[in-house]
């Protein structure tokens, strides 16, 4: 018998992990149009910051504050040294960020060594809901995903910075003429995106651990989430995209092998991109 409570909870959990993992990319790639192939590496840095913080005796919650700041700074270094020269050259941005991904991955090995590091899980026992005992940490992750979505949506929709950021992204010359400091808006938006990737790293570390390739697993999936969901549609796009890519793969794996499920979902994503290039929720 297929136990629906598990399917629903798993689909929800898989979706929320991808929301957290892809949100930073939804800003840097979805909104700014910067193809950031270092997104996975930034997640890895977040995971290692979580390791360093918890290893120093502090709690994982402290890591949730430290990781975004540290990775935002890494994003700042990337943006100031290279990315801001390439805003009008999308292909070169893509290549440069892939270069950064390699450099970051190797620097982590230099600093932390090659072996996988462990990050403790704050919760020990699962909790029983609807007859299925569910891990508390995954429930927390779902709440975190929802919270992050709302916060980023509100930030970019209503706050002064958010409005300016979207204006700059849509037409940086015009915004520049109207007196917005375009360069600093780009910098801050990129840093927020990187910070969110860092937070994602810290968030997944307790259930995945930290090793030099942790973030790489999320790279292609995150891009699919943003593209399939629809660039420029922060809330609906990320939610929809994560649901399709993460959720459906989890649900499908109840009826088929996980390898088959993942292959089918990837193929499905490619078909969606082909039929609706602007994404499910994007476009006019």
């Amino acid at each position: 018998m297929i136990d629906f409570a598990s399917i629903i909870s798993q689909t929800l959990f898989a979706t929320s992990i991808l929301i957290v993992a892809a949100l930073g990319l939804a800003i840097i790639f979805g909104m700014m149009g910067v193809i950031n192939l270092a997104h996975g590496a930034l997640i890895t840095v977040g995971a290692y910051v979580a390791y360093a913080v918890t290893n120093a005796g502090l709690s994982i919650w402290a890591a949730f504050l430290v990781a975004p700041v540290v990775v935002a700074l890494v994003g700042l270094v990337m943006e100031r040294t290279v990315i801001n020269r390439l805003y009008d050259r999308p292909v070169d941005t893509l290549l440069a960020t892939w270069g950064f991904a390699l450099v970051i991955q190797e620097l982590i090995k230099v600093i932390f060594g090659t072996s996988a590091q462990s990050v403790p899980n704050p919760y020990s026992a699962p909790v029983e809901i609807m007859g299925a005992n569910l891990p508390q940490y995954r429930i927390f992750l779902t709440a975190l995903a929802a919270g992050l979505l709302v916060v980023t949506y509100v930030t970019f929709k209503y706050t002064d910075f958010g409005v300016k950021s979207r204006a700059v992204i849509q037409n940086d010359e015009m915004a520049g003429l109207l007196g917005t400091d375009v360069r600093s808006i780009y910098m801050w938006t990129f840093m927020i995106g990187a910070g969110l990737a860092g937070l994602a790293g810290a968030a997944v570390a307790p259930i995945v651990g930290a090793d030099p390739r942790t973030g790489l697993g999320y790279l292609v999936q995150s891009f699919f989430v943003v593209i399939v969901g629809g660039t420029g549609q922060l809330l609906a796009g990320t939610l929809g995209g994560s649901g399709l890519i993460g959720g459906s793969a989890a649900a499908l794996s109840f009826v088929s092998s996980q390898t088959f499920a993942q292959t089918v979902v990837f193929a499905l994503a490619i078909v969606v991109i082909r039929l609706k290039p602007e994404g499910l929720f994007g476009g006019t």
């Binding site: 892939w98 390699l102 450099v103 082909r274």
Partner: protein
């Protein structure tokens, strides 16, 4: 003027690319005399990686399509060679010949289907990068788990190919110096095919598409068809390179189709020179030779060095090595 003068004159004012490919071919031809079998094996391997890089160089340099999935075609070519030995598709005929015909055909067909599916829509070029990246991830995953067909994680064995004329002679190329010439032939042949394409009206249209696709469409060109055709040629070239690589290494396993090799090819072409066929070839040889040397010296720091070089080239040295040379000396046609 005697024959020699004429060649001198012709050589003197030949375009940069002609000079380079001629000297390259001559040096390449004489090289095995000084190379030990090991270095002949290495050079053969570099030539095949250069042929793979050439397939991306043609796509990216001449029609502006950046594919992150050329390794998928390379790997498929390798598996076709392995299957050809395993299943002897056409009994009685040298399985390597069968594979060297099948690999480009099958890859071309698959590239054609992909092209029809992706180019005949307004999928943005950038999305094409992500899709081709995903395709090489999918193929690698299938190759690992579908053990019955792909031999799975442990891979498939195949012997070194033989050069043969049925009934006349059959000589197995276990001597690496001999196999070296097969790969040199494949690389120079591949280059001449690309050169032929690029210098034709078809090639001129490709450059037009790369520079201004809207204008080219409104002059009556079905740009999607051109992009699909050149994508098929690139797939075929990568397939031949993969097929020869399989019988050179005598072993095929999933990473040969996968994500890591796909991203490395892009680095080779970007550093070598993304705008020129010879740039891609140089990148394919130069970076692989450097990685052999560097990885023996600094083992795991080599990727860090490569990453830094790659960023520097992309930001400040966009034309790449050969591109830079072509600018400084009158290179003539961009080949």
């Amino acid at each position: 003027m005697s024959y020699i003068d004429r060649t001198k004159v012709a050589f003197g004012d030949a375009s940069g690319s002609t000079k380079v490919i001629l000297t390259g071919a001559v040096i390449g031809f004489l090289l095995p005399a000084v190379l030990s079998p090991y270095f002949a094996f290495l050079a053969a391997q570099y030539y095949l990686f250069a042929l793979l890089a050439l397939s991306l160089g043609l796509l990216w340099g001449y029609v502006g399509i950046l594919s992150f999935g050329q390794a998928a075609f390379f790997g498929l070519g390798a598996y076709i060679m392995a299957w050809s030995f395993q299943y002897m598709f056409v009994p009685g005929i040298n399985p390597a010949y069968v594979a060297l015909v099948l690999a480009p055909l099958v890859n071309g067909a698959i590239a054609g289907v992909l092209g029809l599916f992706l180019f005949y829509s307004d999928v943005k070029d950038v999305y094409f990068v992500i899709i081709t990246l995903a395709l090489s991830v999918i193929l690698e995953q299938l190759a690992v788990s579908v053990t019955s067909i792909f031999g799975g994680f442990n891979g498939i064995y195949l012997p070194r190919m033989a050069v043969s004329i049925p009934g006349v002679f059959n000589y197995q190329l276990s001597n690496d110096r001999l196999f070296y010439y097969v790969t040199l032939l494949a690389l120079v042949g591949g280059y001449l095919v690309c050169r032929r394409i690029v210098r034709s009206d078809f090639g001129e249209t490709l450059l037009a598409i790369k520079e201004n696709e809207a204008r080219t469409k409104s002059l009556g060109y079905n740009t999607a068809r051109y992009k699909t055709l050149v994508f098929m040629v690139a797939g075929a070239l990568a397939g031949v390179a993969g097929a020869l690589y399989a019988t050179l290494a005598q072993f095929v396993s999933p990473p040969v189709t996968g994500f890591v090799l796909s991203t490395e090819v892009v680095i080779w072409v970007a550093v070598g020179g993304r705008g020129l066929l010879l740039g891609a070839i140089t990148g394919g040889i130069l970076i692989n030779a450097a990685s052999t040397v560097l990885s023996s010296l600094v083992a795991d720091r080599y990727i860090l060095i490569l990453g830094l070089i790659f960023i520097a080239v992309v930001v400040a040295f966009r034309k790449g090595v050969v591109g830079y040379v072509a600018d400084r000396y009158d290179w003539g046609e961009k080949l």
